[in-house]
């Protein structure tokens, strides 16, 4: 295909998938090989440009392609493990990377050979991400990183990390940042499991000590890091909001199941609370559906922030009520021993674990407080919070 070809439509894509499968039998081709060939054929993410795993097709056409591959028994590209790579790093590389960077990172990212992680948050920079203090100092053509990152999912599996660092502490906070891709196997990168209140270590702390990063691993211009990071996070927000859900999905599911299975635990007061949560969950579900319909109709709405606030609260309230329904069992806990959970599978976990884990829902990926500010300021047009940190050199800010 040359650049002047018009992008394929659904029918053309279906033919290409059929041709590809005829040439690459999933049952006999080695999985990694199969995935690399699929990427080369432009059938990885069809809305990406030709040569980068796509064919420049419309975004909505991917689902049918994926389904056809799934039905043919094609191997998966580890999407659950590489959610940061696929959802956040890839679009950022596509938008801000040069051609060499795109060719270097996108193929192994998509195939799942290389897992990616995100090195943004720091102990001193949570909601206020632009306050990050990890330093990147020029060293010849490259950079040397020092600092500490936190809340890094997948860091212990990751080959690459996208990282926000301060290249100019004399500049105001938003203007002194740059954005790098870090080799997680480089000397000076230390990943430690971060134990959380469930007892498990789902996230990591990442300590960076004199980590050398070559010049060609910067994304965007020096000082432009905030804009690049914003783009990355915009993709995260899209990933969290919206979507279609079955009735009674989410945290209300185990709660209603418990109610139905344990008549002895029922009281009138608990039923009232249960029904309130059922109604709220159904309302939230319909809201998420409506948001999806708006996005599909090309009217992206700001409801995503509201959906996230609501699901966080419902997860917390439902799991808390579930503990009450469980009575004595609600007081027990399976095991607080420090472990590394491989995959988040909430429904199969103990009620107590869910109650604890869901406390983070209103913190991770934007606190509910920050999201209320977002709704108030961007949706309702209310004045922004007074702040004194915008035009002051970062080094002079109170911390």
């Amino acid at each position: 295909m040359t650049a002047t070809d018009s992008p394929p439509d659904a029918t053309a894509l279906a033919s290409r998938v059929e041709e590809f499968l005829a040439e690459h039998d999933p049952s006999t081709t080695e999985p990694a090989e199969f995935l690399r060939e699929r990427f080369a054929a432009g059938l990885a993410w069809v809305h990406y440009p030709a040569g980068l795993g796509g064919l420049g097709a419309e975004n909505g056409l991917q689902a049918a392609v994926d389904q056809a591959f799934a039905e043919a028994g094609a191997p998966e590209n580890r999407p659950r493990l590489n959610v940061i790579g696929l959802g956040m790093a890839a679009p950022t590389i596509l938008r801000f990377g040069d051609e060499a960077q795109q060719q270097r990172w996108l193929p192994s990212l998509w195939t799942g050979e290389d897992i990616w992680c995100q090195l943004f948050s720091e102990p001193g920079a949570g909601s206020d991400l632009a306050g990050v203090g990890t330093s990147a100092v020029r060293d010849g053509e490259g950079w040397v990183l020092n600092g500490q990152k936190v809340w890094t999912s997948m860091a212990h599996h990751a080959r690459w990390g996208i990282l926000l660092a301060r290249t100019d502490p004399e500049a105001p906070k938003h203007r002194g940042l740059s954005y790098f891709v870090v080799d997680m196997t480089a000397p000076g990168v230390e990943v430690r499991g971060l134990r959380q209140i469930t007892g498990e270590a789902e996230f990591n702390e990442v300590f960076l000590t004199d980590v050398r990063v070559p010049a060609d691993q910067r994304l965007g211009e020096v000082g432009q890091g905030w804009a690049v990071a914003q783009y990355t996070l915009m993709n995260e927000r899209v990933a969290i909001g919206g979507g279609t859900l079955p009735r009674e999905s989410g945290a209300v599911g185990p709660l209603t199941a418990r109610w139905r299975e344990h008549p002895e635990a029922r009281t009138p007061g608990l039923r009232d609370r249960l029904l309130r949560l059922w109604v709220q969950t159904e309302a939230a579900r319909l809201t998420a559906e409506r948001l999806g319909q708006q996005q599909a109709a090309g009217q992206p709405g700001p409801e995503g922030s509201g959906v996230k606030i609501t699901f966080a609260r419902l997860n917390q309230e439902c799991s808390s009520l579930e503990l009450e329904l469980r009575g004595e069992d609600g007081l027990r806990y399976p095991d607080y021993t420090e472990r590394r959970p491989e995959v988040e599978d909430y429904a199969s976990r103990d009620a107590g674990w869910r109650y604890l884990r869901f406390r983070a829902n209103s913190i991770e990926g934007g606190t509910s407080e920050i999201l209320r500010n977002v709704v108030a300021e961007r949706v309702l047009g209310l004045p922004a919070e007074a702040r004194a940190d915008k035009d002051v050199p970062w080094k002079d800010l109170p911390r």
Binding site: R247, L275, V279, A283, L286, T287, E289, R290, Q293, G381
Partner: protein, 372 residues
Amino acid sequence: MTAPATPTTGDLLYSDVEDDLRASVRALVDKQAPWDAVLARTDTDEAVDTDLWKRLTGEIGVAGLAVPEDRGGAGATWREAAVVAEELGRAVAPVPYLGTVVATALLLGTGEDELLAAVAAGERAAVLAVGATHGAGSPVPVTVQRQGAGDLLAGTVTAVVDAVTSDVLLVPVDAAGGLAVVEADGDGVTRTTSESLDMTRRLTDITLDGAPARIVEGGDMGRDVDRALRIGAAILASEQLGLAERCLADTVEYLRTRHQFGRALASYQALKHRLADLWVAITQARATARYAARCAADDSPDLPVAAAVAQAHCSEVALLAAEEALQLHGGIGFTWEHPAHLFLKRARADALILGSADHHRTVLGDLVGLPR
């Protein structure tokens, strides 16, 4: 017992036709019944704006939206009817729309096509003679009996909504489950309208004593009335949505212009967060109201669940919005010459009529298999 299945959601957005309909209703209502006119009317004996109602039914045809064209209506659906309810809620318009919705939903299931066509055209106003707070899902209260063997009725129905200006009463009679058509101005009918918490929608007590009636043929009164009340509940949710949106919009506007301590009130974060929470609740109210209207329009078997969810949610959201509006307007919102109380009273009453949120939650629990 297992978790309920997930029905198809259907379209929850507004169509272009609905947008146009909304614009027409809003333009008319804004011109004919701005809030100060609505307020002024409450101090008169003319509780209903009959002129506005005439134009809404005559020029826009709001009474016949859900009635097929071959039965004298506009051939639209309850979805479009719900959009009208949003606008009338936004304006707390004193017109008998909700009563007409319930009566129309009921008549659609009967063979009373002459009456249906007259109601759809706005020529006659019909109302179901059931007390305002009765909600779908529990047995229809029957307080009127046939007198002797004839077709004369006797009994009392208290607290009927939108019966002030109605021409025809649809009256549940007899344990067997009949429905009677009674001329509201006919012999043996006494209507007493009293002051109501919601001044823009007054209650009427109806006494029948030897009132001539015609019994509607066929149908199952209990089932038909219940269904009509469910459709009424679905449409009421849209009224509550419109009211809540108006309260939020007015409050945002006020807080942006009112200054205290040298800053706009809108810049105070505690107020910003409360308004953000209210906005979130309203987006959910919209989703539930749209889904309930969709289920009414498509005669979905999920209508009972959808209507109960919408009422349980929208009753509380509208009340919250009206109460927050009053609080955040401060003293001015507590005065008679400010619209905040019109919305507060409507929201408080709406949370009771056609069944409270508590009623709908209880009904819902049985519908979705969450036993006591």
